[in-house]
């Protein structure tokens, strides 16, 4: 029996019904009186020198209120380093021009801003801005970009970041191996394709504060906005709307600085909403990687050494590429005990679309390589893929490749067994239709890099009628972050969910809670709410203990009442207790600050050190049917089994896992942002296809709850992990079906036929 009242129950999220009836006011739904419409002029070239910008004709167009070029904003640059961090020095070379002035480095780079009375006029004004470009040679392939003499995207060279992990003795480990398995894996650019394009409205209020109501995963961007446009940090306020999907694509600053500049220069409210095409052109992408792996194994399957080289295309500006590359490096050896590891990683600048955060943050790319590699080891040794993994899986107390000791439960074998068992009877082949099965296990961090000194704050208050307010600056991109905070407060304070309100984040009203990224919000803000609610609970029970003349431990809170546990008829409505406390000046509100564990950065030479607070573990298993005549891959059945630590709201967890699985299936089979010479050839959702309701069957979800996570009630994080193992599992299944390795995504019919030698 569960010891919880509401934790673990699949409650309806408080935001669900308002979304179903269309009452939720998203960023694009918000209007201000006298509002102007903003537009962005973008470079048509992936690499060019700007010879001349002349905005005079645009400025003269009736209805145009403001045209801004780099010259008008002091050639402002934006520091696009890790957003929302609290404790860190800045990484060098992380600056990005807000508007380009001397050269453009990718197609779609912003060159000028317009604000006009109507959208139509703003669009016309864009056409009237004269920009003379002199196209320059570009570089569009990271391997080319690393060669001497390649065009340099930004000085001094195209190396955006390098990371290395050395653990043990790689040469000795390889020498001790009976077999060495070598493969190269490739994954493409991927588009986030959230259904809500980037949008927001900004205005300057009566205090002179720039307000920006926007769809963002990062409230703390107000600091970057302030610094970029040259105003104090307390003069920028960000109001976070419910986000129409993010997946990391709304982690970097997108429209915020543009909006702030236009509002500041016009002193009128300005709205800026991207079209779908502009969204795809202007925001980050998932990194394409080339991953070369060498793994030494004994004949019994035990890995003696793993050497990996990871090359990521950073695109035209660094953004979060150094950190994505770091994540890939740290997770490159997978959830396995390997004494000798050597990983070299590099992120390389090109004139391609810039790449940055996307669900998994480099973890899924590595997972594709290390899990395909495990199956190739199994094939080479003639072993069962589960057996090869079983003899190498990490266990609690083992160390990762960076020397970090795993403290929480590691239910890898359990997850693999359950996922495979749930696939059931194997579907037989039918003529040219070959059926295959594959799975992939993974580890994926939750919580930020420990040297970012991450914190979250939450304010919880009990009102005099027994209802509860939560103020916590946690953006909610759809994972149910805010609803889960209510559920946690409900559990601790015994107040029904319907009597709890959690505000959407607003830097003026909700304490800063950090980013909704890195699968950190339930872990961090969940703990902050737990702390705050627990403090109020203590006040309430201490006061009630005097009233009932019982020890506080003998009292409990439930259904909006305080009561004596062994005699529940002796009880009092929480409202009455709240009024007693208030009359005596006892605090009924509490602001809590939760701190993740803090560590120093890893050793730059060896990559050794503690990196993340903890990891989530699990397995995805899939059965596919491959038509060997057409190359078409059909997903027959899939199962995701993850140790989520504790499912606070199982409906939300299952939804996250099914959604992550679907995104992963798209990554495996369908999604490919085609970029040729810096030009996106899949510029809209007509060309860039994402899964629909008829493409794949629903993934069966099996939840394991070890209760050992660092989140509230032992929860781990599941947002990113849900996606991580999917694509390699599919590739393993297709390889199993056709007997030929598939080492590149997406697994299109063309790629399958080529693997079969039919193209």
């Amino acid at each position: 029996m569960t010891p919880f009242k509401i934790i673990g129950r699949p409650v309806r999220r408080f935001d669900a019904l308002s979304k179903a009836v269309g009452a939720t006011i998203f960023a694009d739904d918000f209007k201000m009186p006298g509002m102007l419409h903003g537009k962005v002029l973008r470079s048509p070239y992936p690499s060019a020198r700007i010879v001349r910008i002349d905005p005079r004709r645009a400025r003269a167009l009736p209805g145009v209120v403001c045209v801004l070029t780099a010259a008008d904003i002091g050639y402002a640059k934006m520091v696009a380093d890790i957003p929302g961090q609290t404790g860190q020095r800045e990484r060098p070379r992380s600056e990005t021009p807000v508007l380009a002035w001397d050269r453009v480095r990718y197609k779609g780079e912003a060159v000028a801003l317009v604000a006009a009375e109507t959208e139509e006029t703003a669009e016309k004004a864009l056409e009237l801005i004269e920009v003379e470009y002199e196209p320059l040679p570009g570089v569009f392939d990271p391997l080319e970009a690393m060669k001497p003499g390649a065009p340099v995207v930004f000085e001094p060279d195209n190396i955006v970041a390098r990371w290395r992990i050395c653990k043990g003795d790689i040469e000795a480990g390889l020498a001790a191996a009976d077999r060495i398995i070598e493969n190269t894996y490739r994954v493409p650019f991927v588009e986030h394709a959230y259904i809500e394009p980037e949008s927001g409205v900004a205005w300057v209020d009566e205090r002179g504060v720039i307000n920006i109501r926007v769809s963002t995963q990062v409230m703390e961007h107000f600091r970057t906005v302030a610094r970029t446009i040259g105003v104090p940090q307390n003069r920028v306020r960000i109001q976070g709307a419910f986000i129409g999907g993010g997946f990391g694509g709304k982690e970097d600053i997108i429209v915020e600085v543009f909006l702030a500049l236009l509002a500041m220069h016009t002193r009128r409210p300005v709205r800026l909403v991207y079209t779908r095409e502009e969204s795809i052109l202007a925001h980050s992408k998932r990194h394409p990687y080339i991953m070369r792996y060498r793994t030494g194994v004994k004949l019994n399957g035990r890995i003696t050494a793993l050497q990996a080289e990871l090359i990521a295309d950073s695109g035209a500006y660094p953004y979060l590429s150094p950190y994505v590359s770091l994540y890939s490096t740290v997770m490159a050896s997978g959830p396995y005990r390997i004494d000798n590891v050597w990983v070299d990683a590099v992120a390389v600048a090109t004139n391609n679309p810039f790449t940055s955060a996307f669900r998994g943050f480099g973890g899924p790319q590595s997972c594709f390589a290390y899990e395909r590699q495990m199956d190739e080891i199994a094939r080479a040794l003639g072993m069962d893929p589960l057996e090869v993994r079983r003899v190498n899986y990490l266990r609690t107390g083992d160390t990762t490749a960076t020397g970090q000791v795993i403290r929480s439960a590691v239910l890898l074998e359990e997850s693999a067994r359950q996922a495979l068992e749930a696939l059931g009877e194997r579907t037989p082949d039918r003529g040219p239709i070959k059926v295959g099965r594959g799975f992939a296990s993974y580890f994926q961090s939750y919580g930020r890099l420990m040297w970012l000194h991450d914190t979250s704050q939450a304010w919880v208050g009990l009102e005099l009628d027994g209802t509860v307010v939560i103020r916590c600056g946690a953006p909610d991109p759809g994972g149910g972050q805010l609803s889960s905070l209510c559920q946690i407060a409900s559990e601790v304070l015994g107040v029904p969910m319907e009597n709890i309100v959690a505000y959407t984040p607003d830097t003026a009203l909700t304490p800063l809670a950090g980013t909704t990224t890195a699968t950190r919000q339930l872990y961090m803000s969940g703990n902050a709410v737990l702390q705050a609610a627990t403090a109020i609970r203590k006040t309430l029970l201490d006061r009630a203990s005097k009233y009932f003349e019982e020890d506080p431990e003998d009292l409990d809170l439930a259904d909006g009442r305080v009561f004596v546990k062994r005699d529940p008829d002796r009880s009092m409505p929480l409202a009455d207790l709240a009024r007693i406390c208030a009359a005596e000046g006892l605090p009924l509100a509490h602001l809590a600050l939760f701190k993740a564990p803090f560590r120093d950065p890893i050793d730059p030479e060896t990559g050794q050190g503690d990196v993340f607070p903890d990891f989530t573990f699990g397995t995805f298993a899939v059965e596919v049917a491959v038509d060997t005549e057409t190359g078409q891959v059909e997903v027959l059945k899939s199962v995701a089994c993850h140790d989520v630590g504790r499912a606070i709201n199982p409906a939300a967890v299952i939804g996250q896992i099914q959604g992550g699985s679907h995104q992963g299936l798209g990554y495996a089979l369908m999604e490919n942002l085609v970029v040729e010479n810096g030009e996106i050839r899949t510029p809209s959702l007509s060309e860039y296809l994402i899964p629909t309701a008829v493409d794949y069957p629903t993934t069966q979800v099996i939840l394991l709850e070890s209760g050992t996570g660092m989140g509230p009630f032992g929860a781990k994080g599941i947002g990113e992990p849900a996606l991580t193992p999917v694509a390699p599992a599919v590739a393993n299944a297709v390889t199993d079906a056709i007997g030929v390795p598939i080492n590149e995504l997406p697994i299109t019919p063309e790629r399958v036929l080529r693997a079969l030698g039919k193209l």
Partner: protein, 162 residues
């Protein structure tokens, strides 16, 4: 371009608006404050802007406002409110199939159109009916389960209410 005065009957309210011929129904609806009609792509790929036009589900970005002159238009907000949600909306909220929710008003419309012509659809028919509505969060599983729940429980109720 010349404007023309047209009549849009939206969720039981009548609006007379002067619009140019190139204004889409999506733009007209949002400008009139019907922000439950979402703009996800403006070219018929995502389905977020779906409305009922004389009972048929259409992507309002692919209809010109002039073409809807005099027609009856129902949006998701016209089917139900927080106080009185439509059974489809209630079922979706209960299903756990709403995450970011940006696609949901369009899905509500697609399901309404489906159930109007087929009160007891099979799962494949439900999936087909919402296949023009892109959702990036859920993988569609809980959405489909939620809709199956209504059609199953509707067996004893008056399906005309759906």
């Amino acid at each position: 371009m010349e404007t023309k005065l047209i009549t849009l009957n939206i969720n039981g309210r009548t609006h007379q608006v002067a619009l140019k011929p190139n204004v889409t129904l999506l733009r007209a609806l949002r400008d009139l404050g019907y922000t439950d009609v979402k703009n996800g792509c403006e070219k018929g790929d995502c389905g977020a802007c779906a409305v009922l036009l004389n009972g048929r589900a259409v992507n309002s970005c692919l209809v010109l406002a002039w073409q809807a002159d005099g027609a009856e238009i129902i949006t998701a907000a016209g089917l139900g409110t927080i106080g009185r949600p439509h059974p489809i909306q209630e079922a979706l909220a209960d299903s756990g199939g709403i995450q970011c929710g940006f696609c949901i008003p369009g899905i509500v419309i697609a399901v309404k159109a489906l159930l109007d012509r087929n009160p007891h659809p099979a799962e494949e028919e439900i999936r087909e009916a919402i296949s023009g509505n892109l959702c990036r969060c859920t993988g569609y599983g809980l959405i489909v389960e939620g809709i199956k729940g209504i059609t199953e429980s509707a067996g004893s109720k008056e399906s005309a209410n759906l």
